[in-house]
């Protein structure tokens, strides 16, 4: 089984959210928790790991109200990683679906 995939699912989701646009931690938690369950406490250790992997980098944006805010952005390496992960994900889902008989067209062909 693709263990890397299992471990990397949340990583992939964060990278995908960042691919849609630069964001900061609180906003990222908001985006992800709209569609999936995510602990707030997970976010910072996760972001530090992604930074250590050099998949994301940070920059500070001065805000009118109070101190600056840290934004995360995908690096070129991060983009490559994301597309590789998406590829793996699609293959994995297809394989599992095929076994479960859920693949598009497989069910309808048998039924009719």
């Amino acid at each position: 089984m693709k263990t890397q995939l299992k471990k990397g699912t949340l990583d992939m989701c964060v990278l995908a959210a960042l691919a849609a646009g630069d964001s900061y931690a609180y906003e990222l938690v908001g985006i992800l928790s709209r569609t999936m369950e995510i602990s707030e406490g997970t976010m910072y250790p996760l972001m530090r790991r992604l930074q250590a992997e050099a998949w994301v980098s940070t920059y500070l944006v001065e805000s009118a109200s109070g101190p600056s805010r840290k934004y995360y952005t995908l690096t070129a390496e991060g983009r490559r990683q994301l597309s590789w992960m998406q590829q793996e994900w699609r293959e994995f889902v297809n394989e599992v679906n095929a076994v479960l008989g859920l693949a598009a067209g497989a069910g309808t062909g048998e039924a009719s």
Binding site: A25, Y26, S39, E40, P45, P67
Partner: protein, 276 residues
């Protein structure tokens, strides 16, 4: 828990990582609290969502130490990694004790191997240098050998036997064909004998009086050049081999340790996700 309390606990638990990095982490969490408060949540709610600051700090520390070890592999860093992993839980703490003993043994073995290797290099180097340049001079060998060879071949040719009235005696015996030679002096209150065995260059010295006896075997402990070279090479091989073995073991150990640390961090990640 209030924001102030959360940050205080986090800061305290992170006291052992560099100031700059600690400040960055604290800033991150302050920012998170600001954003949460701006969204209309209470401090307690945000703090509860973020989890136990001390556990967060332990995890960040373990990650920090592993990363630092990967960028700079020093012995101190390795111990920091062990300590950080031990901080992640009670079982890890219990495992750390035998592990530290093992690391200590490994260190001792590496030091011993290094000593033997250096000894071998010194012996081999000294003998080679002596053979090539005549320096450093190996006095002992030359003197003892010279003494024996003079004794063996010198005049008078006959053996000497002197007897006293009260059991005193002096015997000087040489057997040129076998190479055996000895000097024996005995008086009423003591004895001295210097003896060279037939087979090799090893001499023995025995001194005895009423008080006690001194025996020195292997008088010419023979930095015979060939033997010395062999000993030097054997020591170099032993030391070098030992050191290499230690290096392999150490490599295996820290790889295992890092995998274990990552595995533990992974478990924490998973446990936190299950909490939701």
């Amino acid at each position: 828990m209030s924001e102030q309390e959360f940050i205080r606990q986090l800061q305290e638990a992170l006291s052992r990582i560099p100031e700059r990095e600690r400040q960055e982490i604290v800033d991150d969490y302050c920012e998170y609290f600001r954003d949460g408060l701006a969204a209309g949540r209470s401090e307690a709610d945000i703090a509860a969502g973020l989890g136990d600051p001390r556990q967060l700090a332990r995890e960040l520390m373990a990650r920090h130490h592993i990363e630092r070890w990967e960028s700079r592999k020093s012995f101190g860093n390795l111990f920091a990694v062990v300590g950080a992993i031990a901080g992640l839980g009670f079982l890890n703490f219990m495992l750390a004790i035998p592990f530290l003993c093992y690391l200590w043994l490994l260190t001792m073995a590496a030091l011993a191997s290094t000593g033997i290797l250096i000894g071998g290099i010194v012996v081999f180097g000294t003998l080679t240098c002596n053979a090539l340049f005549g320096w450093p001079a190996l006095h002992e060998e030359r003197d003892v050998r010279a003494f024996w060879s003079t004794f063996e071949s010198g005049a008078p040719a006959a053996n000497i036997h002197i007897r006293g009235h009260h059991g005193e005696k002096v015997d000087v015996v040489r057997d040129a064909s076998s190479g055996r030679a000895s000097i024996d002096i005995q008086s009423s209150d003591g004895a001295l004998s210097l003896e060279r065995k037939a087979s090799d260059a090893i001499g023995q010295l025995h001194i005895q009086d009423e008080e006690g006896r001194v025996d020195i075997d292997a008088l010419d402990w023979g930095i015979s050049r060939k033997g010395g070279w062999i000993a030097g090479v054997v020591m170099m091989l032993l030391g070098g081999g030992g050191l290499f073995l230690c290096y392999l073991l150490a490599r295996l150990t820290w790889r295992g340790l890092l995998s274990y640390g990552r595995y533990q961090l992974g478990l924490l990640d998973k446990a936190r996700r299950m909490d939701d």
